[in-house]
């Protein structure tokens, strides 16, 4: 306990907690909409694409998140656009964009002289290494995501529950779907700094899935998912510090633990 208190005095731990908690709040709340819209795998697909974008940024010497952000938002729009214009399923579009992103990442890493430490940290996350500027960016963008979800919560609820009925109320559901995909891209790019491209979808899927088991009422479920995600980051970081284990993996396993516990509780 004393050792933990000492850890909390370190700036890098405080920065990790601040960035991680805000990003988790956004991931958790957004995850509820994505799961209910059956878009859960979009997080995985976008994370893999973001890996390619980060590889490109590192090759060009650009800011990784700065370049990954617009490219991943564009990929999210492409994932929505492809099934509308072509005769294949939405999950096929996710798979294609995901595979292309991952292939680009590997190719660009190879061109840049193989896997280096920077790219490795994006693959598995390194929240304990976030800079002061990245913390500011993470908090700002997380608040943007949460603010948009808060302002548009009634519309998003309506299209999530019943898309056709929402259209008969005058809602332009295509625009809201694009917004949701763009927010997913934003959240994924932020999340890969915490848990990495390979595990970021867990921060979106697990808290939402757990909250859907427990929540009574939509607002309560959203709050619960955001809270569980934040709690998993705090608990995961504590475990990571105590056992000197990778933070991203600890956060994901804490989330899996929460989900397993709630499954057992619900069965009883």
């Amino acid at each position: 306990m004393t050792q933990l208190a000492e850890y909390l005095q370190f700036g890098f731990v405080q920065r990790a907690l601040a960035a991680g908690v805000f990003i988790a709040l956004a991931c958790g709340a957004l995850g509820v909409f994505l799961l209910l819209r059956r878009m859960a795998m979009i997080g995985d697909g976008l994370a893999h694409f973001a890996f390619g974008a980060v590889g490109l940024a590192l090759l060009l010497g650009a800011a990784p998140l700065g370049l990954a952000l617009p490219l991943t938002v564009a990929a999210a729009c492409l994932i929505l656009h492809l099934p509308e214009k072509s005769a294949f399923y939405g999950d096929a579009a996710i798979g294609m964009v995901s595979a292309v992103g991952l292939a680009l990442g590997v190719l660009l890493a190879s061109l840049g002289g193989g896997f280096n430490v920077d790219l490795f940290s994006f693959l598995f996350g390194d929240v304990l290494a976030v800079s002061r500027a990245e913390v500011g960016l993470a908090i700002g963008l997380s608040l943007t995501v949460l603010g948009l979800l808060l302002v548009g919560r009634h519309e998003l609820f309506a299209i999530t529950f019943d898309d056709a009925h929402a259209r008969t109320m005058g809602l332009r559901t295509g625009r809201w779907n694009r917004l949701l995909a763009a927010l997913a891209a934003l959240t994924v790019v932020l999340g890969i700094r915490v848990v990495g491209t390979l595990l970021v979808s867990s921060l979106i899927v697990f808290p939402a899935a757990t909250a859907l088991h427990l929540g009574r009422g939509f607002r309560a479920t959203l709050a619960l998912a955001a809270g569980l995600a934040a709690l998993s980051v705090i608990a995961g970081l504590v475990l990571s510090l105590c056992f000197n284990a990778p933070a991203g993996a600890c956060i994901t396993l804490v989330n899996a633990f929460f989900f397993g516990i709630t499954r057992q509780v619900r069965r009883r």
Binding site: V32, L36, R38, V151, G152, H154, E155, F157, A158, F161, D162, A164, H165, A166, R167, T168, M169, G170, L171, A211, L212, G215, R216, G217, F218, R219, A220, T221
Partner: protein, 261 residues
């Protein structure tokens, strides 16, 4: 007053038209039963009228306004097909579902104000659903869910109610109660009802007008006229006419071809 006017409506999925050159006009206070075999275009007609499907040809006007310019969505209440919704695991309460209907016609950012909340509570009371309000929608029985979804369609006190096979998941008692409620809304409040149904045995007891589709309009007009029409038997077979006209004794016997009643 004409509330809905459809002219030459053609809807196609690929090369195959699902509906061909449909003309239909709905006046205020009418109760239409929309019937026909599977794939006859009943749901397609409702969805096209609401702008949910692209139209190959033809025009739809609501309250004398072309569909593309129509924004007064509060005047329409829509209850989609039961099976289309992923209700089982949805975390929303029944109250939240009904309240979502109040977003119709509002501009962004939509808000749930005190009058909206009062309208929701009022309607839940009227439909005897107050005790369901805090339960998850997925926990409700088929009949209870339909009552909640009907409440969502009615929460703005619409002029026209469009219902797509609303009694599919209901047992006979719930179905009868649902139809009684529709009849009361139609008779006492003047709500126009457009009811898509396979329940051809019952629809004649409630609907005053019939739209019979089979990819095109086969018959439209008063239910009585359908029952009296001698050529209907040749078109649909005696069984269909028997079900619709006689089962409940609510309609006069068909006139024998060429003979006196």
């Amino acid at each position: 007053m004409t509330q809905l006017e459809i002219r030459g409506l053609t809807v196609a999925f690929g090369a195959q038209p699902a509906l061909d050159a449909v003309d239909w006009a709905v006046q205020r206070g009418e109760f239409w039963g929309i019937v026909g075999p599977n794939g006859s275009g009943k749901t397609t007609l409702l969805r096209a009228a609401l702008g949910l499907l692209p139209v190959a040809r033809g025009a739809v006007r609501w309250f004398d306004t072309p569909l593309a310019d129509f924004h007064d969505w509060r005047r329409l209440g829509y209850l989609p097909q039961f099976t289309a919704l992923p209700l089982a695991r949805f975390p929303a309460t029944a109250r939240e579902v009904v309240a979502s209907g109040r977003l119709a016609g509002q501009r962004f950012p939509r808000r749930m104000r005190r009058p909206d909340q009062a309208a929701v509570e009022d309607l839940l009371r009227q439909l005897d659903a107050t005790d369901l309000a805090d339960r998850r929608i997925g926990e409700l029985s088929g009949g209870q869910r339909q009552r909640i979804l009907l409440a969502r369609a009615l929460v703005n006190h619409p002029d026209v109610l469009l219902l797509d096979e609303p009694t599919v998941a209901l047992d006979p008692d719930s179905r009868a109660a649902f139809y009684r409620l529709l009849r009361e809304l139609n008779a006492a409040r003047g709500v126009t009802v457009l009811l898509v149904t396979h329940d051809s045995a019952t629809v004649g007891a409630y609907a005053s007008r019939l739209l019979y589709l089979d990819g095109r309009v086969v018959f439209q007009g008063p239910f009585d006229a359908f029952c009296r029409s001698p050529d209907m038997e040749a078109r649909f077979g005696a069984y269909a006419q028997h079900l619709m006209c006689h089962q409940h004794g609510a309609r006069p016997d068909p006139t024998p071809p060429g003979g006196a009643p």
